[in-house]
Every structure is written in C-alpha cells, then in structure tokens.
C-alpha cells in the first residue's frame, strides 16, 4: 500500500495526465442531470468494452475462411473450453449494445440534448448508431451459417438494384462474382479492423464533446435554448448549483453499467450462444433465412412494399433516414427542450417504436411467406368433411395436394399469404371461384394449366361448401333470375 502513492506520483510526473483526470472527474454537472435518465450512454460504452474483450477472445479461435468458419464456430461451441460462453457473451453483448444505443438516442432526443451547443455531439452519435449497426450486420455475417449466407444474398440483391453500377457494387461487396471465401474475409476485415477503428474514434470524439460542452441540464418546460445566452446561463447554473461528476453522476453510471454487464452475463449463461444455424451450403435450400432482430424490420419492409417503389425505398430510404437524423440538430437546434412541450417529437418517437415493433413482429411471423409443409402436414378440419359428398371430399384432397393450404388457412391453420377460406363461399359465387382458381389474380398464381377440369370441378365444389352454417353462400343474382325463367 505504501508503494502505491509514490508509484502513481512517479508515473504522473512523466505522463502528466493526473490533472486532466482530476479535472474530468470533478467537472461540475447540473444537479438534476446526475439522474438515472442519463446512464444509458455509459451503459453502452461499458458493453462496447466487453465486446472488444470478448471479440479478441473469439478471434483467437475463429477462422475467417468460408471453408472452416462454420467448423471453428462448432469448435468454439463444443470443444474450446468456455468457448460457448464467450460466444454467448459476444452475441448477447451485441444485442444489448444496439438496444442501449437506441434507448440512449431516444432519451437524448426527448430531453432535447441535441440542441445548441451539442449539435455535433448528436451528429457523431448518429454516426455511432450507423457503425454500431454496421458491427451488428457484419457480426451476423461472421456467424457464417445459412442465415449469414442468404443474408448476404439479400444484401447483394439490394446492392444489385443500384442503377447503372449495381453489378459493379455487387462485385465489390462480395469480393468476386459469388458469395464465397473473399466475401467472408472482407466482412471479417470490416468487423474486426475497419468499423471498430471508426467506432473507437467516434466514441472518443463523442465523449470529449460531452466533457467540453458539459452534460445537458435537465430540461425545464418553458426554458428555451437561445444561442446568444445559453452558454452563459449553463455556466452560471453549474457554478451555482452544480455537483462534481464523480461521484454524483458517476455512481449511477457505475451501478447501471454493472447491472447491464450482469444482465449480459446472465443472458449468456441462461440462453447460451446464438447459433450457428445450418451449414453455409447453398445447395441446402430447405431454409427460411431471417436476419437478426435489429434488421427484421427491414426484412418486413422488403415484403410489404409495393414492387413499384421498392427499389427506391430500399436504396434511398435508409440513407435519407440517417441524413434526417444527422441534420436534425441543424433544423431544430434551438427552442424548447422538454418533451412535455414537444408533442410532435414525442409522437415521432411513439410512432417509430410502434412501427419498429409491428414490423419486427411481422418479420418474426412472416405472414407473407407460404407455409411450405402445410399441404402435407395439416389435417383438413373435420367439419369441412363431415357428411359431405364424395365430390366435395375429392375437392378437399385437391385443395391439399395442390398446396392451396400453403397460402390459405382453414380452421386457423395454414398459410397466411392469401385470405383464410373458412367463409370463402360467402364472398365468391361458383363462377367467381372458378375464375379465381383458373386465372389467379390479386396476388394469387393462376392454376389453369395445373388443374384438370375434373380437379377444378371437385375443388370448386369443396370451396362452395366453405361458409358458416348461419351464413348462406353467395349467389349470382342474374343466374338465379335466369334459371327461374
């Protein structure tokens, strides 16, 4: 113990950073800003440090080769001592980091902390969001399994839609004409060298500006930001009523960071590592590729967008969104800070969260995808067969055998791509059913060449019986009057 002080003094006599550290620790922050609302950024930083440490550990074993990456992941999971745990920490750490960055961003937005003079801090923060998502995507590629392979396929196909130079961009993204060895090595280089370098640089600038400009004061409704007076007012406030960063704010940061790290450890222990899923073998096509959860919403957008504007939305939407966030403080850099008096801002956040959650939910359930095994796996509901004629039952067989069930549900089971058919007879007359089956339309393939006349007759007879007992089947009024005459 007696040696510590002289050692520290010896070091500081040469490093000369003691004063700067003391100044940082003692710098005054507004009393109310030493708040639990202000802990998310440091939480994200703590997780980032964990990611660096676990990432280096993984790089000791992982082989960034298309031929061996998958095996090395299996070795990490099953043979390397505690490899599964380090993988789990890194995977859960990435989820927590993306989550905390987003929560931090929402808090900063709602508390008006992006306004004068902290515009650039926010802009660098937007860049940090971009590189964090970049880490998440490239990391998902390094978990080189089926999802990673086909995820690259999706990225490639989006890049291929760029006008004029799409083909060239695809080649540069993949490092060659197909998804293969050089694709993995370039994503490895991005994930391990390029993006972490940018991330560390941006974090440094971001933190430096937080220190130089001071922590945002707790917003008071009605207290407007004015470029001419703000800095003097802020200085006066922290000198009159400020508290030192250490320990008043720091202890909450410390507790929260510890909680988050503990939560990552707990998740890693309880839930284990993510994947890898099936081997990255393109000839195994019995797969349903899905991205990790933070990109599921984009996956949903790709399914739900009208084809006419899809390319535009996929290519222009993300950069435009990022640009909007980036330029936000230049557009709304002064005025009211408190969310209590910024209803549009609150509404935007609520809409963004709802939109994200809804699209993520759709991404998980993918109602637009046919259920590939519904035709062979699901039984026809008994009520649709009981007491029905042989022709109708034959129709039910055609319905299953021609895989109508993959897109159409009966009795709440089956695909959701098309409408459920439990009451289709109340909506379509016999002639309309025949037309729809043979010609398709409304996003349904035409089955005209695929069904014999006998099969069509049977199928339509079956469909005609599909209506609730208390609702009659639809009838063609003109046919009815014609037959009466």
């Amino acid at each position: 113990m007696r040696l510590i002080r002289p050692t520290l003094e010896w070091l500081d006599a040469r490093l000369k950073i003691g004063a700067a550290i003391r100044e940082t620790a003692d710098h005054p922050v507004p009393r109310r800003s030493a708040s639990w609302w202000y802990v998310f950024g440091s939480g994200a930083l703590a997780i980032f440090v964990l990611q660096v440490a676990t990432g280096i550990c993984l790089a000791l074993v992982y082989v960034p080769s298309a031929n061996e990456a998958y095996q090395s992941l299996q070795v990490l999971n099953h043979q390397q001592a505690l490899g599964w745990f380090v993988r789990a920490l890194h995977g859960w750490g990435s989820n927590f980091m993306v989550g905390l960055v987003l929560i931090h961003m929402i808090q900063v937005f709602l508390f008006g902390a992006f306004k004068f003079p902290r515009e650039l801090t926010w802009m660098v923060g937007v860049l940090l969001l971009v590189v964090t998502l970049g880490m998440a995507f490239t990391g998902q590629v390094l978990r080189f399994d089926q999802d990673a392979y086909w995820g690259l396929g999706i990225l490639t196909s989006i890049a291929g839609r760029v006008p004029v130079i799409g083909g060239q961009i695809v080649q540069i993204v993949l490092g060659g004409p197909i998804i293969a060895g050089e694709t993995l090595t370039r994503f490895f280089a991005l994930h391990v060298f390029v993006i972490p370098g940018l991330l560390i640089g941006f974090v440094g600038v971001h933190l430096m500006m937080v220190l130089k400009l001071g922590v945002n004061e707790y917003p008071m409704p009605g207290r407007l930001v004015d470029k001419d007076t703000y800095i003097a007012e802020y200085e006066a406030e922290v000198h009159r009523d400020g508290v030192p960063f250490v320990p008043n704010a720091f202890r909450k940061d410390l507790v929260f960071s510890g909680l988050m790290l503990g939560a990552v450890v707990l998740c890693a222990l309880v839930f284990g590592p993510f994947g890898p899923g099936g081997a990255p073998d393109p000839t195994i096509i019995q797969t349903e590729p899905r991205p990790d959860y933070f990109f599921l919403w984009i996956f949903s957008v790709a399914a739900l967008m009208p084809p006419g504007i899809e390319t535009f939305v996929l290519l222009v939407g993300p950069p435009l969104g990022i640009l909007f966030l980036f330029l936000l403080p230049l557009w709304a850099g002064v005025g009211e800070k408190s969310w209590r008096r910024r209803p549009v801002a609150v509404l935007c956040v609520i809409l963004a969260i709802l939109g994200w959650a809804t699209l993520t939910h759709y991404g998980r359930t993918s109602p637009w995808s046919p259920v590939m095994d519904a035709w062979s796996a699901l039984p026809v509901p008994a009520k649709d067969l009981e007491g029905k004629s042989a022709l109708v039952r034959q129709g039910a067989l055609v319905f299953q055998a021609k895989q109508c069930r993959n897109c159409h549900a009966l009795g709440d089971a089956g695909g959701r791509r098309g409408p459920a058919l439990d009451d289709v007879a109340t909506r379509l007359t016999k002639d309309q059913l025949i037309r729809q089956v043979l010609q398709g339309g409304g996003n349904m393939p035409a089955y005209g060449v695929n069904l014999s006349p006998a099969e069509t007759t049977a199928l339509v007879s079956f469909l005609e019986t599909l209506h609730p007992s208390n609702e009659p089947a639809a009838q063609d009024a003109s046919q009815k009057s014609a037959s009466v005459r």
Binding site: A66, G153, G167, L174, G176, W368
Partner: protein
C-alpha cells in the same frame, strides 16, 4: 523575409509536395486493389460453361435440382462454391435452367411439383413452372442461365450470382448473355 526562413519555407513546401506525391503513388494502387473485383474484364471472365451432367438425369417434362462447382473458386471457398440451379427439361434438347436465387432479394426458391410452382421462403415470391412471375414481390421472372447440349451433356454458362444489376447491364447489351 530573411534568407534562412525562405529556405525553411521551401523545405516545408518540398516536404508537403513529396508527401502529396507519395500519397498519390500509394492511393492509386490501393484504390485499384480495392476496386479490382469490379473490373469489367474480370466480370466477363467470371462466366464460363459448366457441365450439369448427362441428359438422362433430366426426365422430360420435369424440373430437377442440379448443382455445380462455380467455375472460379479459391481453395478456401469450401461449400460456398457449390451452386444449385433448377433444370427444367421440356423435351429433347429444349431446356430451361433457372437460378435458385429469387429475383426479389436472392433467397433460394423451392420447386413444388404438386402445384407446379417455385416458392420463395423469404417474402413469398411465387413463379410458374416456366419461371415467369406468378405472385408476390419479385419484379420479374426467375433468372435464366444460357444453356447448350453437347454430346448428350447439358452445359450452362454460369459463374456469377444473378442480381438485377447483372440483368439490367446485360439488357443494354454490354455483357452478352441474358443471365448469370
């Protein structure tokens, strides 16, 4: 201004100039290195004829999956260089060879002989047996490989992951074959 400071000025300018020259000398090859996958010559060379086996493995009127080793590979490509495709033999030497990648966003489409449809597991794209678009978000039909039959063996011109980028470029007649 005194003589020595002029000399120092000159030295500074010389230093900046030298470094600028060095920067250009370094940046040119580095940028060239980074962009090399997109060289037109390299992209053209990526395509070549690959064999999909004898005609007897493709019964008339049926659609079967075939796999081939990508013509340009690295030793460390592993399974990723094994590329699948769908071969539809209409009759005799009349074939259609489709890329497995959905024209929407590249996911692998599956062939269902029961309903005579190709279905995509990602966003629900559907194609008829002849590869034309049936339903869902794809902007066009399935990508097709150029094929030929030689000595009772089926060959296709392949080597590049098909995307709308390749297709658009080829439609303008800049890169020959209609696909792949």
């Amino acid at each position: 201004m005194t003589t020595p400071s002029t000399r120092r000025d000159l030295l500074l300018r010389l230093g900046i100039g030298l470094n600028a020259l060095a920067a250009v000398a370094l940046a040119t090859p580095i940028v060239g290195y980074l962009l090399s996958p997109a060289r037109r010559q390299k992209m053209r060379d990526a395509l070549s004829w690959v064999e999909l086996g004898g005609l007897s493995s493709y019964p008339e009127g049926q659609t079967r999956m075939a796999t081939f080793r990508n013509p340009s590979t690295r030793p460390w490509d592993g399974q990723t260089a094994d590329i699948p495709c769908w071969v539809r033999r209409l009759q005799g030497n009349d074939f259609q060879v489709f890329a497995v990648n959905c024209a929407h966003l590249g996911c692998p489409v599956r062939w269902f002989p029961q309903s005579n449809l190709f279905l995509c597991p990602c966003h629900g794209g559907a194609y008829y047996a002849d590869g034309s678009r049936a339903a869902g978000p794809p902007p066009r039909g399935l990508f097709r490989y150029e094929f030929k039959v030689e000595n009772d063996r089926l060959l296709i011109r392949a080597g590049m992951m098909p995307t709308l980028g390749n297709i658009i470029a080829s439609r303008r007649g800049r890169r020959g074959p209609p696909c792949a």
